[in-house]
Symmetry: C2
């Protein structure tokens, strides 16, 4: 399926380690490696280098922006031949800062790729509905919007579910072959505290900042700045400047990346 992976010439078959990761994104400049700023990828590669005594590249299911959190990000790396006995979850958690945790590790073959094997992703966005304060315990994990018209948001979200060109919900900066994505579900659920509303979005893939742009648009509906029928208009207009502003990073969390059955733990 994925032709871009280099075939490693080796006496032994490549062993690929799938890591499931949770992180508090508050202190990181996002997932992707940067030379002079702490990033999640950078921290994990540093920990792997300590264990393996040589650089090890990891591949995430996708980048998360600065300030975005994860409960179920997935990444993979190829296990060095002389490190077959390392208990990866335990070994990495012993070295990583406690703002990043490996919640599971799984040994797979070279056909698995954290990004290209993924079939769907689920993001959860936390909105704080109480206008006068945010619990300090939640200040890095919610967007304080104040009260929202939930019924209109639900009606609007129904217009986004399905296969659409989400160009109007994509921020520029990354080249993509297609801006078509299939959103399989948007659900509104009680958040961790009664003052919270969580919005869960599942899609076969997300364009750059698409989750935060969908939330920004839904909140504009919830605040009655846009009628819910306007969401169809945003989709068909296909131009970002007409769509409401991107929601703040801190409310977003990558909850889950789904893979075909054969790449899951049993």
């Amino acid at each position: 399926m994925d032709k871009s992976i280099k075939v490693v010439k080796s006496a032994q078959p490549v062993v690929r380690v799938k890591l499931t990761l949770a992180y508090d994104g508050s202190g990181f400049h996002g997932w992707q490696l940067q030379p002079d700023a702490p990033t999640v990828q950078g921290c994990i590669e540093k920990a792997l280098e300590r264990i393996c005594s040589r650089p090890v590249r990891i591949h995430g299911s996708g980048r998360t922006d600065a300030g975005v959190h994860a409960l179920g990000q997935v990444a993979h790396f190829d296990q060095p031949e002389n490190k077959a006995s390392v208990p990866w979850q335990k070994a990495l958690n012993a070295i990583l800062p406690d703002s990043i945790r490996v919640t599971r590790s799984l040994i797979l073959g070279p056909d698995f790729h954290a990004r290209f094997s993924a079939v769907s992703k689920t993001y959860c966005y936390n909105l704080w509905l109480e206008p006068d304060y945010v619990f300090p315990q939640r200040r890095n994990f919610v967007w304080k919007t104040g009260p929202l018209d939930l019924e209109s948001m639900k009606k609007g979200s129904d217009l986004l579910v399905g296969k659409h060109d989400f160009r109007a919900f994509m921020n520029s900066g990354t080249e993509v072959r297609s801006t078509q994505r299939k959103v399989t579900g948007i659900s509104f659920i009680q958040g961790l505290y009664p003052q919270e509303l969580a919005v869960r979005i599942t899609a076969d893939g997300f364009l750059k900042q698409m989750a935060r742009n969908i939330i920004g648009a839904l909140v504009s509906v919830g605040r009655q700045k846009n009628h819910w029928t306007k969401l169809s208009r945003f989709l068909s207009d296909k131009t970002r400047p007409l769509t409401p502003a991107t929601a703040p990073a801190r409310g977003l969390c990558l909850e889950k990346v789904e893979y075909p059955e054969k790449y899951r733990a049993h």
Copy 2:
């Protein structure tokens, strides 16, 4: 009821402001004012001094230890006569660091006292049952105990409910008239995440570190280091050194302080 409050000689009756407070205790050296360390009381008094242009003393319902959190701590202060029009919640939240929030302010008379008028307090303690990791989002708010025998903990907790001498559950350092307290309820509920178990304890008052010592003892039962019937023994022995170690501060949160009807908002 409270004879210790000084009668303030003034042309106008004393106006006492009741504040309900939430804080993330991670960055504070506890509630109580200290000369050279950031404390919750210190932060609030500094904010009040900025608003009132003179020192204002606040009185909490009780001290919380370094690292302990609150969702419903209560404190009061006497409103300076020339500050009758200040919207306290808004004014304080504009100045306070976002690790402390005023969730409510209420104007009362001089008979109210945050500490002496309180009739009960509820603490919540968060236990993390998954042995291999803690979600980074929860690292400052839970104690990772691993799996626990919940049934034994429930049986043990029943022995602590009621009016008892809790001397064995009190750390030294504060003089008290009586070490008798009435625990009106201990309940075990699902925590914020499925990996969490929350223990909620309500009592007419708590001795120094009593909540954390009760949790320490209950966890020793949950880990099968002590049989649940041992909790009666700890109570009757009345000596701290025989009781299991104090649970870490970070798992504890002061959820609610209850007052008679006349001191509540309507």
